[in-house]
């Protein structure tokens, strides 16, 4: 069994991080120059960490599979980033942001981590403004805020509908500056295949140069994974096509434990699926729920007619519309957290009130806001989103309501890390979405950007020094050590094996089938019976994959099929762990909704008595079942309550 020491500092909640920073070990400047750090991933977390570590003077190697660091999928985040600035004078505070995040996460995250996140949130905004991030402003020249789901204050900073892009470009520019200075060496179009352990510590990685196909060994004193979430395990998700779990999955198989794999977030406002050729789902920012009202027809007959194209939504009279979120949750209305909004949409569609050709969609209506505020205000706020919607769906959302449906968006689960963001493998750190994170069982909108940048700019640069401070006597590693050679051989052989299957079915076809299984049994609503079916189904699919997959092309060249095959092979293993975790957690919390555990009104029912812990899964071998470790969650500073958004 792995030993889970969360290393939470003692003391008052509000003092923990300050105390930690005051007493942690640091590395002096001349030693920093000798210490090497590998950062995998160039998203918000990776780029900000690599840049900050480079600024401190460490020798950093930064890897990404994309052709440029600027393309990491953080770029696609639309809505905004939270911070407890209280610029709006509406009663916000660090404590309130902390509390909303804990509550939004359905009491399945660590108090100390979340408080630290809320605490550094303000510094992130300062940092980004200094970097030239053009946040939205008011006419007086000060920063503007908008409100977001799960909060009663306006604390979200935004840059039109492209906040993620602007924050990432800020981090990318800081990273570029360090590249120019020679503190960071950049490796684009390089995909991490495995992590190398020497004497039980993470000492390097094996990567494949995606242009030449060459397998390379890179050594360092510490390895930081910032490789994002694994939502693509569902095939259809809002993740980028290349987003994958390989890095964290390989780390898991080398001994890092995996926290809460079943906590996946289904985002309520995505453009509905339109055909089986669909390659990905497009998110419509949650900020739309600020001004849009969600409804379905009150009468099944109307819904039926709409599905068959006999009725148009604008023909449904006001009294025949069911604004079900406003009806069920009068206090938060359309701004309930994502998991609640998603489940409510599914509930209505399952009950036969869904719209669209497939019946798997609900309306998001702006007519009331357009009448109240004017079309130009709506255009200013959401113009680019409306444009994007029209391009994809071919309907004008200014005239007819948008259709939306939930889709896989974010994974709260990830590699388990302690307060210092280190996994159970010493020297292996995980930041951003890739770790099991501060969001508990559900993430609030505009908090992912906050967490990625908090980890990269303000947390890891401190905590990693505590680890590195006793590594200063260790000379630079040679990537020629037998451990590196062995891991390299294993990684190469695995890819060669994939190429040599020479079966009949494409990689994508397997990926789609895996996605179908997961969406059906491990999606928005889960139950023991379904999960018990899913596990053997995934195992069987995996077996078939290794017997019948077809990978074309050569090893030593750009080969997208081979890249996909490696990623899908890992998804096929991860999918099973997600199902196992979902089956073991006999409660409903946040994004994990077990149909057996709900209140009479259909709300999630937690089991705080028995299940207030982090499930930390430990790999025990290819042919044996993983073991679950538990990190108990102690709530010393907040009262644990049933979430109530009514």
């Amino acid at each position: 069994m792995a030993e889970l020491n969360s290393k939470i500092p003692k003391g008052e909640l509000a003092q923990k991080w300050t105390e930690y920073k005051s007493h942690t070990n640091l590395v002096n400047p001349s030693n920093k120059r000798r210490l090497e750090i590998i950062v995998v991933g160039t998203g918000l977390a990776g780029a900000s960490a690599a840049a900050s570590l480079g600024e401190l003077g460490f020798k950093v190697k930064n890897f990404c599979y994309q052709d440029s660091p600027r393309r990491a999928h953080s770029i696609a985040a639309q809505g905004g980033i939270n911070a407890a600035k209280n610029y709006q004078n509406d009663g916000d505070s660090v404590y309130r942001l902390f509390y909303d995040t804990i509550k939004g996460g359905d009491y399945r995250s660590r108090e100390a981590n979340v408080y630290r996140l809320a605490e550094v949130s303000n510094a992130i905004i300062d940092q980004c403004v200094a970097q030239g991030v053009p946040f939205a402003r008011e006419y007086g020249g000060l920063l503007d805020n908008r409100s977001f789901g799960g909060a009663q204050v306006s604390r979200t900073f935004y840059a039109r509908g492209q906040t993620g892009q602007q924050l990432l470009l800020g981090a990318y520019s800081a990273l570029s500056r360090q590249v120019k200075k020679g503190n960071v060496e950049l490796f684009t179009r390089h995909e991490m295949l495995d992590v190398v352990l020497v004497d039980g510590r993470a000492r390097g990685i094996i990567v494949r140069d995606l242009v030449t196909g060459a397998i390379e060994r890179h050594a360092a004193h510490a390895v930081v994974l910032a490789t994002g979430g694994y939502g693509n395990v569902f095939f259809l998700s809002t993740n980028a096509m290349g987003s994958n779990a390989t890095a964290i999955w390989k780390a898991y198989k080398r001994g890092a434990v995996f926290g809460n794999p079943s906590f996946t977030q289904i985002h309520p406002t995505c453009i509905p699926v339109h055909g089986d050729f669909q390659s990905k789902l497009t998110l419509m920012s949650e900020s739309l729920r600020n001004d849009g009202r969600i409804w379905v027809p009150k009468n099944k007959e109307d819904a039926e007619k709409i599905r068959h194209g006999q009725l148009k939504p604008i023909q449904i009279a006001e009294e025949d519309r069911d604004y079900y979120l406003e009806r069920r949750y009068p206090a938060f209305g359309n701004l309930v957290p994502r998991d609640v909004a998603s489940r409510a949409a599914k509930e209505r569609c399952d009950a036969g009130y869904g719209v669209g050709e497939t019946g798997l969609a609900v309306y998001l209506d702006f007519s009331e806001s357009i009448n109240r505020l004017g079309k130009n205000v709506i255009e200013e706020r959401y113009g680019n989103l409306f444009q994007m919607y029209e391009k994809i769906v071919d309907e004008n959302p200014y005239k007819t309501p948008m259709m939306i449906y939930p889709a896989v968006h974010y994974t709260m689960g990830g590699l388990w890390v302690d307060y210092e963001l280190m996994t159970t493998i010493p020297g292996l750190f995980v930041i951003g979405e890739a770790n099991f994170s501060d969001h508990g069982a559900n993430r609030l909108g505009a908090s992912a950007l906050m967490q990625g940048l908090a980890d990269g700019y303000f947390v890891l640069p401190y905590t990693i020094q505590n680890y590195l401070s006793d590594q200063i006597r260790i000379p630079n590693f040679s990537p020629d050590l037998p451990e590196f050679r062995k891991t390299e051989t294993e990684a190469t052989e695995r890819l060669k094996k994939l190429m040599n299957v020479k079966g009949t079915k494409t990689v994508d076809s397997f990926h789609k089938r895996l996605g179908m299984i997961l969406w059906e049994y491990v999606g928005m609503g889960r139950n023991a019976e379904g999960l018990k079916k899913a596990i053997p189904k995934i195992a069987a699919l995996r077996e078939e994959f290794w017997k019948d997959v077809k990978v074309t092309g050569d090893f030593n060249e750009i080969n997208p099929e081979l890249e996909k095959a490696g990623r899908v092979a890992d998804f096929l293993e991860l999918g099973e762990l997600i199902a196992r975790d979902a089956l073991s957690r006999n409660e409903s919390c946040g994004g994990h909704f077990r149909e057996e555990y709900q209140t009479p009104e259909g709300e999630a029912l937690r089991d705080d008595q028995n299940l207030m812990f982090v499930s930390a899964w430990e790999f025990t071998g290819e042919n044996s079942e993983p073991v679950m470790n538990k990190e108990p969650l102690n709530y010393e500073f907040v009262e644990v309550k049933q979430r109530n958004y009514k």
Binding site: D67, D126, Q127, P134, G141, S176, T188, G242, F277, F458
Partner: protein, 257 residues
């Protein structure tokens, strides 16, 4: 829809490429252009042929990875979108579509439709940033910024670095890309501090990499998926002139500034 595709195929950077003609059938008008490419690739893989390699990632028009030159226009016939947002309803049944990679000396073809755009990263590394370290920053609201400038800065900052401007320009000039970054910072008080050094360093790097010169034809602006305006190019020219004429002599060291 049934379509004929003429696609540039090239094994690697050093090999000579050629156009290959493919037919795809029963394409839904609601599928995106890249989904049409996926369908083609699936059929190629089943036949045991190498699928067509092309860059793509987010498929929602923001990462800037996708980059096809479709029927003589970067990102295809529609304005203000990327290739991944282009939908097949824009084409007619029976159409022939010619698909080429970006063509520019600083964007060498790596395989099929994939080009190497690291030259854009190099331009940013030369000076596309504000030189602040992490931490120790005054409050975000300490300096008010006129909304109009923040908005103009945001207009410029929305560049996704896809390279369509270079691809569209008859001179393969990168002026729109460079000017967008120069403008973003020049419009903000935080960026003004080192504006002179920045514009000179970025322009020097752009020239060194072998991009063409701007002849003010406006093709870049017409093809930019984010509708970045060539007023940014004028602003960069202005910044550049002022920095040459007005500012003290700029020394750009090897390690940036």
């Amino acid at each position: 829809m049934d379509l004929t595709l003429k696609i540039w195929r090239q094994k690697n950077a050093s090999s000579k490429g050629k156009f290959v003609t493919y037919k795809v059938n029963d394409i839904s008008p609601n599928s995106s252009f890249l989904e049409m490419m996926d369908i083609l690739n699936e059929s190629l893989v089943v036949k045991g042929e190498d699928p067509v390699a092309f860059d793509h990632d987010c498929r929602e028009g923001i990462c800037g990875a996708c980059s096809l030159y479709i029927n003589g226009r970067p990102h295809g016939p529609d304005a203000a979108i990327t290739t991944c947002q282009l939908h097949m309803r824009r084409f007619k049944d029976g159409d022939t579509i010619v698909i080429e990679p970006w063509r520019a000396r600083p964007f060498p073809v790596l395989r099929d439709l994939i080009v190497d755009r690291t030259s854009f990263d190099k331009i940013i590394q030369a000076g596309g940033y504000i030189s602040v370290n992490t931490g120790g920053i005054p409050d975000a609201n300490a300096i008010p910024i006129p909304k109009i400038n923040a908005d103009l800065s945001m207009d410029a900052a929305s560049c996704i670095g896809c390279g369509a401007c270079v691809a569209a320009c008859k001179n393969a000039s990168a002026m729109l890309f460079v000017s967008a970054k120069v403008s973003q910072f020049a419009l903000l008080p935080q960026g003004k501090v080192e504006a002179a050094e920045r514009v000179q360093a970025m322009v020097a790097e752009m020239d060194r990499l072998g991009f063409g010169n701007c002849t003010n034809t406006g093709a870049c602006e017409a093809e930019c998926p984010k509708e970045i305006s060539i007023t940014n190019i004028a602003r960069m020219n202005r910044e550049f002139l002022c920095s040459k004429i007005g500012a003290p002599k700029v020394k750009i060291g090897a390690g940036g500034f």
